[in-house]
Symmetry: D2
Subunit: 150 residues, 4 copies
C-alpha cells in the first residue's frame, strides 16, 4: 500500500464541486452529505440528518447509512485518483451494529486496496460525538480504463 | 426448510397495511414500493421508479436498489411470521450486476432460513420485463423474542 | 444474460483434468471434490466428506464449506469461458444456515453475471439428499485480460 | 462499546488450551495457528504456513486465509466472554486484496460489536513483516444463551 498512500490529488473543495455537478441528487431537498476531510487513502464525511433520513422511532434509516458509506468510499477513491474515470460500486457489505440516535452520522473511510481495476475500502459509521460504531461497511469498486478525463 | 415452508400468515393487503402504518416514509413523496405477492418463504415487490430513484445517466441509484432488497426481505419475513415482533436488519450484502434502465425494478425474494432468532434470505432484482438480474442481495435479520404482539 | 447462457465450452472431464493438473492440493490426502455436472452458467459439485472436513460434534467445518463454494464458482466460470485465463476470487460472502450432518455436501452453482472483467455467482450448499440448504455463498471473481491460453 | 471494552477474561494460554481441547483439527498434521496476544476486543494470531496452506504458484490458499480470519474472530470473542457458550459463525465476508507470498500470515482482529446474542468483528490479514493487507474479513457470530459453562 506504500506506493498508493500518497496525498490525494483532489482537495475537499474540488471533491465537493465534483459531487455537486455529477450527483445533484445528493442535495435533493437540501444539503445532505458533506466531505469533512480527505487524506492518503482516507476520507471523513458527515450525513446531516433530517426527517428524510429517519425511520419511525427516530433512528437513521438503513438506506441512508448505506448511501453515506457508498458515497464516502467513492469520495476516497475519487480524491486519490482524480476525476479521470467514474468508479462503479460492484459490491457492498454492510453490518448494522447499533441503532443510531436521530443526529448527524460520521463516516470514517479507509481504502484497503487501490488497484488499477479494483478498489476496496471500509467505512466505519459513528453517531456524531460517540465512539461506538453504528454500522460498518466494506465495498468494492470497479475502475474503468483511465483514458478519459471527465 | 420443510417445516417453515408453510403458507404465509399475512396476505398482501395485510402486509401493505402494516407497512403503511409502520413505515410511512416508504411513501414519502408518493407511493414507491408495492408488494405484488407473498408465498411460502417468498415475496415479489415492485419499485415504482421516479426521479427520486434516478442517478445522472438515468440509472436507478444504489441506495434505491438497497432499499428495495431490504424492504423485500423484511416483507417476506413479516408475511411468514406475522407482526409479532419487528425483524431488524443486521447484515446486507449486495452485488450490483448491470446498470438498470430507468424503469420499474422487480424484487424476487426467497428466504433461505427462518429460525427463531435469525432469518436469512436472498433478493434478486430485475428491470421489469427483463430476465437478467441487475442486482442480487443476501440479508440477515435478527428476530427479537416473540412475546409481544405489536 | 441470454448472450452468455450458452453451453459451456468445457466438459466435466475436461474441467476435472484441468483441476487435477492445476490444483493438486484439492486431492491432498485423497480425492475430495468432484464435478458432477456443468451447464449454461451452472455447475454441480460434491464434497466427499471425510475426517479432514469434520469438526468436533461431527459437523462439516466452515473452511471446507468455503472451499467447496469457491471451487464450485471457479469451475462454473472455467467451464463457461475455457482455460484462457485464471479467474481470481476477489470477494466471497458466506452464510452458514444449518449444521450439516457428517456426510457428503452438494454445491449447486449459478452464475449471476459473466462479464469481461468480473463474474459473480451464487453457491447453494446442501447435505446430500436433503433440500434445506446448509450454507449459501456469493462470490466475485476477477477475470484477467484473455490474451494467454494456459 | 465502552462497557464491553474490558480486559479479556481469558489469557493467551487459556485460549490456546481451550482450542487444543475443542478444535484438535487446528493442529491436524502439526501446529498451524497460534494466538500471539489478546486484548480488549482485540486479538492477534499467526498462521504458520506450510505446504498444506499453499496453492500452485506459492501463494497461501483462500480457504487457509478464511480459516485464519474465522478462528481469529472466534478467539477474540472467546477471550472476551470466556468459555461459557460456543459462538457459531453465521456470516463471513472476505475480500482478497493481494496475493500473499509463501510465508506466515498475521491476523489482526478487532470486535466491532459484542452483544448478548450477536458479535461482529473484522480481521485484517498481513504477510508477516509487510504492512499492506492481503485480505480483510468481517464476520458475524451468534452467541447462544449463556446458561451453561462448557
Amino acid at each position: 500500500m506504500s506506493a498508493a498512500a500518497r496525498p490525494p490529488v483532489m482537495s475537499v473543495a474540488a471533491v465537493e464541486a465534483f459531487l455537486a455537478a455529477e450527483f445533484p441528487q445528493l442535495r435533493h431537498g437540501g444539503r445532505s452529505v458533506t466531505v469533512e476531510s480527505v487524506g492518503p487513502l482516507t476520507a471523513r464525511l458527515r450525513l446531516h440528518v433530517d426527517e428524510r433520513h429517519l425511520r419511525p422511532g427516530g433512528t437513521v434509516s438503513g438506506p441512508s447509512l448505506f448511501m453515506l458509506a457508498d458515497v464516502g468510499l467513492y469520495v476516497a477513491i475519487l480524491a486519490q485518483i482524480g476525476p479521470v474515470a467514474l468508479a462503479v460500486t460492484t459490491n457492498l457489505n454492510i453490518n448494522f451494529l447499533r441503532k443510531p440516535p436521530p443526529g448527524d452520522v460520521i463516516a470514517e473511510i479507509r481504502l484497503l486496496k487501490l488497484g488499477k481495476r479494483l478498489a476496496v475500502g471500509e467505512a466505519t459509521l459513528f453517531a456524531d460525538g460517540d465512539d461506538a460504531p453504528v454500522a460498518h461497511a466494506v465495498g468494492t469498486y470497479s475502475i474503468p480504463p483511465q483514458n478519459t478525463v471527465l
